[in-house]
């Protein structure tokens, strides 16, 4: 049939259909566009989030160390009691000497020098003198970080263009720093201190070692409790439990527990573990207990789906050659489900690693200036360290917060990659 054969009314029908089709296709295109847009928005949020944290945090991994020879003036240090001397002042005077300046009688200049270099140098001197009192009267060289504000200037985050009264350092201090850097007394390098020190009140001396160790100890407690209990509970529910009201109740209960807000687990930990069972506050033990309860439902759910994936023929074959049900499960079904179980367990541990809110409830917000002493000692963990530093007022801590987040994310990425690799390497399709 050709177009010419169409009657006028059919022609107009065709036109309306074509017009409508055009509209419908336009609608289709719009709809598809909305979908693309949604994905682009979601992914750009991810990019902005990660990009922002990396740009804020990467500079922490560069630090500026100052090296000065200090004359341990015998007249200023009491040999009998070396702790009493003002080592910071000795350092400040050596720096001033290096700059070719002399302190005025009120100590204004040395005070200003102390604002640009860390008191870590003074501590180092004290430690040296304590270990070897014969150093008094000699000249020693110490290397230590500059104060965080000074480091921010070197990193161009405090700018000279800012009016003098709006920044923490005045023009004279900036001049001095330029001079020190030009003379080679200040050198930059990779900030190992951030990974080998623990929390401190001075941003330039603060590091994440204590938090990393605390996190690992807490995860150890969580893993030793949540994984065996969760796997056994899931095995029971999946392989042994009769279908009755009790097991139904347990099942509904587990699904609901998985969606309980994490802060409620913190309240539970506070009321039961700390107030009732008197577990020490803010210890890795109590944190691990709370997180174990929190990750138990996820471990159970993951294990159950891994067990479901093992085909019934395996069970039937084992039972057929005379194995008991327990033997069937422990010798055949569980080993075959293990990759899936471990993947789920690692993912829930990664989730527990990033959890903060319940730990605030059980007193983990305290300042812990060292590596935790044991499972019942006070500890801090990485996400809580992020929270503590975020609340600190000094600018130097903001940079460190972002860096601590980078460390936390690296740990999480490693755990997730491990889970993915495990799944890829050992997963069996039946």
């Amino acid at each position: 049939m050709t177009d010419a054969a169409l009657t006028p009314s059919a022609n107009s029908l065709r036109q309306t259909v074509e017009a409508r089709l055009k509209k419908r296709h336009a609608q289709e295109m719009r709809f598809r566009l909305y979908g693309r847009l949604a994905i682009v928005i979601a992914l750009s949020f991810l990019a902005i989030l990660l990009g922002r944290i990396v740009t804020q945090g990467y500079s922490t991994f560069i630090d500026y160390q100052i090296t000065v020879p200090v004359h341990l003036d015998a007249s200023k240090i009491d040999k009998a009691d070396p702790t009493g001397a003002n080592y910071d002042m000795l350092v400040a005077n050596s720096v001033l000497a290096k700059l070719g300046e002399t302190d005025d009688e009120f100590g204004n200049k040395s005070g200003k020098v102390l604002e640009i270099m860390s008191n870590d140098l003074g501590f180092q001197l004290l430690k040296m003198v304590r270990e070897d009192p014969s150093l008094i009267g000699k000249t020693v060289t110490v290397t230590g970080p500059v104060k965080s504000d000074a480091a921010l200037y070197f990193k161009d985050q405090i700018k000279r263009a800012t009016p003098e009264d709006e920044r923490k350092l005045d023009n004279q201090q900036l001049d001095w720093m330029d001079k020190l850097k030009a003379s080679g007394a200040v050198t930059s390098g990779f900030n190992t201190g951030f990974l080998t020190r623990s929390d401190s009140t001075e941003p330039e001396q603060a590091g994440v070692l204590g938090a990393i160790v605390g996190s690992l100890m807490m995860l150890l407690v969580t893993a030793t409790l949540a994984i065996p209990i969760g796997v056994l509970a899931a095995t029971y529910l999946e392989e042994f439990a009769p279908k009755n009201r009790w097991t139904d109740l347990i099942e509904v209960n587990i699904n609901n527990l998985a969606a309980v807000p994490s802060i409620v687990y913190g309240l539970l930990g506070l009321a039961v573990f700390i107030n009732w069972m008197a577990v020490p506050r803010s210890s890795p033990l109590v944190g691990g207990l709370v997180l174990a309860l929190m990750s138990l439902p996820t471990v159970i759910i993951a294990t159950r789906s891994a067990l479901k994936a093992v085909p019934p023929s395996i069970r039937e074959a084992a039972l057929g050659v005379g194995a008991s049900r327990t033997q069937t499960v422990f010798h055949h079904v569980l080993p075959l489900a293990m990759p899936g179980v471990m993947t789920g367990a690692i993912l829930s541990l990664a989730h527990a690693l990033g959890e903060t809110a319940p730990l605030l409830m059980i007193g983990m917000v305290s300042f812990v200036p060292g590596v935790p002493e044991g499972f019942t000692g006070a500890a801090t963990v990485l996400p809580v360290q992020v929270f503590i530093w975020e609340n600190a007022s000094e600018r130097g801590f903001h940079e460190r917060t972002a860096a601590a987040i980078i460390v936390l994310l690296v740990f999480m990425i490693v755990m997730n990659l491990a889970a993915i690799l495990l799944r890829r390497r050992f997963e069996r399709r039946w």
């Binding site: 979908g35 949604a38 922002r52 347990i250 509904v252 807000p261 802060i263 309240l267 975020e390």
Partner: protein, 480 residues
């Protein structure tokens, strides 16, 4: 420390029992192990379980509750001087006595005269009791372990069904592990209800649930227990609702549309790239979102609104301009928007599953009738998936209500009854965190009110979850 040594010794003992039991099982058959009912290892395990488990449970129980037992025994027969003290003072006294006995640091209370001698006396007694408990529990454990061996060892004979017995122990372990989940729920409910009940004795329930003024700080002064309306939680509920609403307005459309695109349009390659990326977004810890909200989004939004305010200033909207120029970093919009970002992958992956569960035949039917893909999605797939999507959104709401770190770091502390997204509001979770971090006295309504809030939060999220899970369950059955 002693407990650990005892437990290690017990472990070695039961290992030895295992070896002995196994050897005996082989021995009783006079060289024909095939006569045994079970494999020899089961006889060994049977003996080892009897030797190890009861004793280990006893030692662990004493290690966990020995401290409480000691504190209770210490209070028996109090000296006259101590009886005169008030109850809290007595608590401090006994804590100090135990701290001295343990070589710890006692409180700074000064005791003199009769009290001092009483303290020294009690400290010595505390040491006695605690060593009695420790050695006593280990002694009892040793007796139990030996008794276990004497029970199990003679039973070993070729007819003895050792495997069934060992599997009975394993079944017991299974049940104990499964009951942990129930115990957790019971523990949550019991602790929340118990502490809330103590709170509701100081502040009536209706005042808490319907009061419109929230100012828990007032109650810290002893003479102002529950000052009028200070514990009205309505502003917190409003604040939580507002932030949840903003979050859902961000997360629901973006999450839903990306789910539709991923399941209906995207090529397998796009799916394999985008889904893991969204999973990364889901895996980012909430404290990171909080940091992002507080230090990036907050200042950005504030300067944006301040800039608009500055543009409008002096014009016909001067009032609005003045308002915009003083908005703060902690406005509800910031916390809500960032929480919305956090929820996108949650909404998207749940809805993706649900959309995928709609049978292909429905789509094919619709496409065969000439509908375009978007028409199929809008008229066929979405209506079929609607209950499931509603459930996913409810679960997201429950997440938003219970989310803590983002709001703690990015929302304010002032409790205000407002639905203006540019105002600062506070939420239930923020208040729980503020009330319970730092120094706490466990009998002040200020601290206890956190449990009242926790109970409300738990009840609301539980309700949302139950409804959502029920919908999901019912809906899944439809197509199976």
């Amino acid at each position: 420390m002693l407990t650990w040594i005892a437990l290690t010794a017990l472990l070695l003992f039961s290992l030895a029992t295992y070896m002995a039991g196994r050897r005996r099982a082989v021995a009783v058959t006079a060289g024909k192990p095939a006569q045994l009912h079970s494999l020899p290892g089961y006889y060994g395990s049977y003996a080892a379980l009897w030797a190890g488990v009861p004793a280990a449970l006893l030692i662990l129980l004493f290690a966990m509750f020995g401290g409480r037992l000691e504190a209770g025994l210490l209070r028996v027969d109090p000296p006259a001087a101590v009886q005169e003290l008030t109850a809290p003072q007595q608590d401090v006294f006994y804590d100090d006595a135990r701290a001295i006995a343990r070589g710890g640091t006692p409180s700074e209370t000064i005791y003199d005269g009769a009290l001092k001698t009483a303290l020294e006396d009690k400290a010595a007694k505390s040491q006695q009791i605690s060593s009695l408990i420790q050695y006593g529990s280990i002694g009892l454990g040793a007796i139990l372990a030996l008794a276990g061996v004497f029970i199990a060892y003679p039973r070993i004979s070729p007819q003895f069904r050792a495997r069934n017995k060992v599997e009975g122990w394993v079944a017991g372990l299974f049940v104990v592990c499964s009951v942990t989940a129930i115990l957790t729920t019971a523990g949550i409910i019991a602790s929340l209800v118990w502490e809330s009940w103590r709170f509701f004795q100081a502040v009536p329930v209706h005042e808490f649930l319907l009061g419109t003024e929230w100012n828990p700080q007032i109650a810290m002064r002893a003479d102002q227990f529950a000052g009028a309306g200070a514990f009205g939680a309505v502003p917190l509920f409003v604040g939580t609702f507002l932030i949840m609403l903003i979050a859902m307005m961000v997360a629901a459309p973006i999450g839903l549309f990306s789910a539709i695109y991923l399941s209906e349009y995207a090529s397998p390659w796009t799916r394999s790239v985008v889904k893991p990326l969204l999973e990364i977004l889901a895996g980012v810890p909430t404290v990171v979102y909080g940091f992002f909200a507080a230090l990036t989004v907050g200042p950005l939004f504030r300067s944006f609104f301040n800039w608009i305010g500055a543009q409008l200033a002096g014009g016909s909207f001067d009032g609005l301009a003045q308002y915009l120029m003083q908005v703060q970093n902690q406005m509800a919009l910031v916390a809500g928007a960032v929480m919305g970002i956090m929820l996108i992958p949650f909404v998207s992956s749940l809805s993706d599953d649900i959309i995928n569960a709609v049978p292909q035949s429905l789509r094919d039917g619709s496409l065969a009738m000439g509908a375009t893909r978007s028409e199929t999605v809008k008229k066929v797939v979405l209506p079929a998936a609607l209950p499931g999507i509603m459930a996913a959104l409810l679960l997201a709401v429950s997440r938003a209500v219970g989310e803590t770190m983002i709001v703690t770091m990015a929302a304010g502390l002032q409790a205000r009854m407002t639905l203006n997204p540019l105002d600062t509001v506070t939420t239930v979770t923020v208040q729980i965190v503020t009330l319970l971090t730092g120094d706490q006295e466990f009998d002040s309504p200020k601290t206890l009110s956190a449990f009242g809030l926790g109970l409300t939060l738990f009840a609301v999220t539980l309700m949302l979850n139950i409804v959502a899970l029920r919908i999901v369950r019912k809906y899944r059955e439809q197509y199976d």
